[in-house]
Amino acid sequence: MVATFEPKKDYKVVGTRPIRHDGYDKVTGKAIYGADFKLPGLIWGAVARSPHAHANIISIDTSEAEKMDGVLAVITHKDMPKAESKMVDLGEGSVNFKWASEKLMANKKVIYKGHPVAAIAAIDRNIAEEAARKIIVKYEILESVTNVVDAMKENAPIILEDLIGDDLGEKVHDTNMSEHIRHDFGDVEKSMKDSDHTFEGEFNMEMVHQGYIEPHNATAVWNEDDQIKIWTSTQGAFPARTQIAGILQVNVSQVKVTPLEIGGGFGGKIPVYFEPIAAILSKKSGRPVKMVMERTAIFETTGPTPGGKIKIKLGVNNDMKINSAISEIWFEAGANPGGMIGPAAMCIYAPYNIENMRIDACDILVNKPKIAAYRAPGSPQVAFAMESLIDELCDNLDWNSLDFRMKNASKSGTRRGDGVRFSKIGLEEVLSAAKASNHWNSPLGNPLPGIKRGRGLATGYWFNIGLKSAANLAVNSDGTVILTEGSTDIGGSRASMAMHVAEVLGIDAHDVKPNIVDTDSIGFTDVTGGSRTTYATGYACWEAANNLVNELKKRASILWDVNSEEISFNDGVFSHNNEEKIISFKDLASKLGDLGGPATSTGSVDLSSAGDGFGMHIVDVDIDVETGKTDVIRYTAIQDVGTAIHPSYVEGQLQGGAVQGIGWALNEEYYMLNDGSMANSSFLDYRMPTSLDLPKIDTILVEVPNPLHPYGVRGVGEVPICPPIPAIANAIKNAIGVRLYDTPMNAGRIIDSLR
């Protein structure tokens, strides 16, 4: 059975705000990120990329590049190990290594712009890049498709000839649709017909990118004994190892991945891009090879999260209850299958208790980069559609949209769209907190002449994953504890891991020294992603700390010559026989030399869920009705976070997620040209929000402890990107009286809607 925990209140460390352990390195420029890493004899790699989105490769001529001074190796698809075209289960997902390999280095055809066709290693970066320009490739250009509607047309060009689609269990050939799934419960048709009112809407969204500031990078050494060492900025050293080994067709034990500091990922640094290429270049050149990706390629070939089309129809009754829901989701997968339709289906109705519901969802290939996870992948898109339509029906029926959401709110036992029942959730508490918030109860105020002001709100949901984590502890003689773990720290997680341990051991958070280590130095640990890290790796840390307490009780039993089971441990103090004998953790640590030597422990978990998470955001916008310019002037993010281990970094997750959502809502998009290329593949034209585009982001942390975690932690990182898009859509509607159904809701669209 799954262990459950009663929440506590009187924590000593949990809920405090210590300075993060890695902070000093990061504010002084000493921290080593992937691109900062150097090895003796290091050379640089670069990639030659396809200028076309869809084309057959007729020939590749590498001779000019090979002749250049300073070039040490050139590779093409011929140098890539060949894998069978078959879905392989990796435990936490599945992969077809043939596709994964050909995504990184094109074989017979290129299927997205920027698709690598060759790679070069040279003595410096500039020579490698110049050599890449000398690779001559002849192409036969094919028609490309860059949106789901075109990709599903009768005569659409087929992107992957060996794709066998699954249409509700039936195999389909010659298709761009890799999968069509359906969930349905109750009698949707009848309940829809019987509803007092029905509303429907179609929502279209453009693809967007995670927009991490740090470029992808990798450094690789392929040694003569076929041991491969990789240093990289990754969200998961172990999943990276799995992918690298699969693509290179070697055993996982031949690959050691050392995760260096990582400059943002948001899901986009789970897939590998340069790591296998750098390894092959290293094998061929006999030198360590480093690669750093240019920003245009980051937009064109990595990351994005799907755009697509979402249709929803809702039936509601006069008692303000949702009676029936039908939806259809078409998501872009990019040029390889495996988009985000599963999570989208899980999330679309999650905040609402609906008896009769159906979801059809299709995963559709387009000539764009293969999508990667992006913060609650699939959920912001469906939240935009669902939460917009909820507001529309409330507007039409003159219902208070917050009251409506309360009336229909999911609670423990409610089924989500895929039929699975919720365990303990805090949606009602979140809605109550929103209703009581200062923001919701403040008047909108008067905008300047020519400006219209509006307020919107929306909910968001993410299920938060669990999975595998491991942690090791070792006691120092000065009473500090070394913590070793495998979750790359992308936003301050070292601190919360140390706090898990410190709370158990009754010591200060800074008496625990967290270290993130390579794949040869710790047990398998899944990605930093899925809002799982504080939950699952924290749980492993908690377990390791408890195991350490038991180990130390044994040592105290030697010291006191008593039975270790009679020793108790409270607030950092071991005691025996009602405190007749007592010794602090620190004092005992100093005596370990004579009590059996170093004390170590380990914790290892494989967890099912980090507890379902719900949030609600409230936003006020000002819109210049002559230009369509939208300014976010006030923002509040409210979320059930379970228990906030380090509240500052929990608030930071809410704020950061909200702002990514704001950018997505207003300006961010893949603006595609007819030739299948992205026109705005730079930070200049991709237009992520700057500090000047935002107000303060207020946060309200609602704590409904998750019974599945010893301290009640719920995943928090992903929920906050779900509400902003619909909240802004609803605020725009409130301001100008017109609803937008497409993202980005940029100035052009706003002006068009007013015409």
Partner: protein
Amino acid sequence: MHPFAYLAPTTVKEAVEVLNKYGDKARPLAGGTDLLVKARANVWDLDAVVDVKNIPELNKINFDSEGLTIGASVACCHIYENEQICDEYEGIVDAASIIGGIQIQSRAGLGGNLCNGAPSADGICPLIVNNAIAIIEGPNGKREVSVDDFCTGPSKTILENGELLVSIFLPKPKENFGSAYTRFIPRNEMDIAVAAVAASVKLSPDKNIIEDAKIALASVGPTPIVAEDAAKSLIGGTISDELINNAASLAKNAATPITDMRGTIEQRKDLVEVLTRRMITKSIERARG
């Protein structure tokens, strides 16, 4: 990036010689904020980059009885930090303080902005409405060209190979003169104009009649556009909403935008009308003091 040599002449003559020697394989480097981006994107394969910041004439801000001379490599920050420029050339300051962010403004200047010749350049339209003259030296000597005529197409200018923009001359503003520049961008900084408008007016002594006016549009054509009809419609008119609205509508007609990732034809034309109205109004406010 194609490897290039770095040359740092200290006189205009030297710079012209070396630019002439390399032809289109060399470019002057002032702020570098366009040059290095283009070199890195392989738009240009340069053999030499000629850093012109060590040439005294190109670094100077000089006021005399005729007007203001701004060296071609003077960075934006030196323009908006100069109190006299802020007093007399407000439209120029509007532009200098929104090009890029603070980091870009430490390096980029109006000279480079002009030579880069982007249709969306923030610096060119305010120069136009201030009747600026480009002072150019080349292998055949010195010439002066009105900024109105400087750009000939996207990233194309009247500069010949070997020619160097030395400075920009701005005539001293007349009494009751005011200028203003704004652009529409989706973000609040760090963005490229979807459409932009500069305007200047010279008012009668009673400040009720527009005696002279100039309007220039950016990002709505292959080059900055001088909206002559719009300006003419203002001249001699008594200030009124109708007068301004009419000029704005004429400016809209002068715009010849395309639809691209930054905006549509319709959106851009509408923006020109809105921004022209706002900039004429602002110029009048400034002229009235």
